[in-house]
Symmetry: C2
Subunit: 216 residues, 2 copies
């Protein structure tokens, strides 16, 4: 089993699959065409994570800020998210879509999966998918509640051990601020549509070298 | 002027000066001795930031989680924070100490500076210093308030453009989750007591290559 190669597998991995538009540009395509090339890498990574025994993964779909982009691009990444979920429905994952559904950009096709966990097939991995996510919105759910920070909208998404970002940018871009406070952060310079299993393995290798102190 | 060397200077920089204990170990010293060697680099960096025209900087002092460390270490880093502020009081900065003062580990000497901005000398830079900071505590201040996320305890600390972390770890470790959502993150492998001005310049050089999209 590949997982025997490593003494530590991060239980929960955050995935920031960035670089779709830069990839399209580098391939002389319309920027909006890049998103469609991002779906197949997502399923390659899904298979890879099953193989290595990752228990939970959170994919950054799109944010409310992202929808300020040109309409054709917004339509393209929304469609890619819908297509990805429709393919996933035939696989073996427990899906949790987190995002603000009170907005016209939230795709109607995904309403039935929103803000509650849905079980597909043998449920081999917990997959969280941020769709029209906004960190303000996430935290505001807690603020409207009189009690505690575990009432944030994403309270069912657990602490993240490792965040892998494709596309070379070294930032969170609003990705789950609460769950990311102690995450190790690994950046792959290649664009997301050029995903290779080696990227993931390289991140795992690096993860072996990190310690876990949680500030202690 | 050194600042002319760069077309973009981050307005607000986050500083995670990590590696004091590993530095002490590498120098055959007691772990707790490392913190004292972290003060002088802090003032070198302060001078460097003034030279480059940085308007605001936030230093990670210590967190509530850090105080779970052995008593001798806790006493040593608390003392280093107090000493640093006492030196700073003779310089030219507007100091804002943010942290939970309802705790015996919050140093009494810093109570007079806590949770409000204090002006020293000519006030050439806004310096924020996290002392007994805890991100749960920070957000809970907003939750106890009926309105909005701008009531977090650290609401007076603005969005961070660039975070520089010394000591090689690639994570936020609970550093201001709200202000860090769009920050670019640069890691220096050397330990904090080995601070050199070149580290900062290297981070600025890298910062020139990043874009600022805020998700758009």
């Amino acid at each position: 089993m590949p997982r025997k190669q490593f003494s530590r597998i991060p239980r929960h991995i955050g995935i920031i699959p960035d670089g779709n538009r830069r990839w399209a540009k580098a391939h002389d395509l319309d920027k909006k065409a890049g998103y469609d090339y991002g779906i197949s890498p997502g399923f390659q990574l899904y298979e890879t994570m099953l193989k290595y025994g990752v228990e939970e993964a959170t994919f950054y779909g799109f944010t409310q800020d992202n929808t300020k982009r040109p309409k054709a691009q917004t339509e393209a990444f929304v469609k890619a998210c819908v297509d990805a979920v429709e393919i996933l429905a035939h696989r073996d994952a427990n899906l949790l879509v987190i995002g603000n559904t009170n907005s016209s950009v939230f795709p109607k096709e995904l309403l039935k999966y929103a803000n509650k966990r849905v079980h597909f097939g043998r449920g081999l991995i917990n997959l969280n998918f941020l769709v029209n996510y906004d960190w303000h919105w996430d935290l505001k759910q807690a603020l409207n509640n009189t009690s505690m920070y575990d009432h944030i909208a994403s309270a069912d998404i657990s602490r993240i051990d490792l965040i892998i970002r494709w596309g070379g940018r070294r930032r969170l871009s609003g990705f789950l601020p609460i769950q990311s406070v102690y995450s190790d952060f690994y950046v792959i310079d290649e664009y997301w549509p050029d995903f290779k299993e080696e990227h993931f393995v390289e991140a795992l290798k690096w993860y072996q070298t990190t310690d876990i102190t949680l500030g202690g």
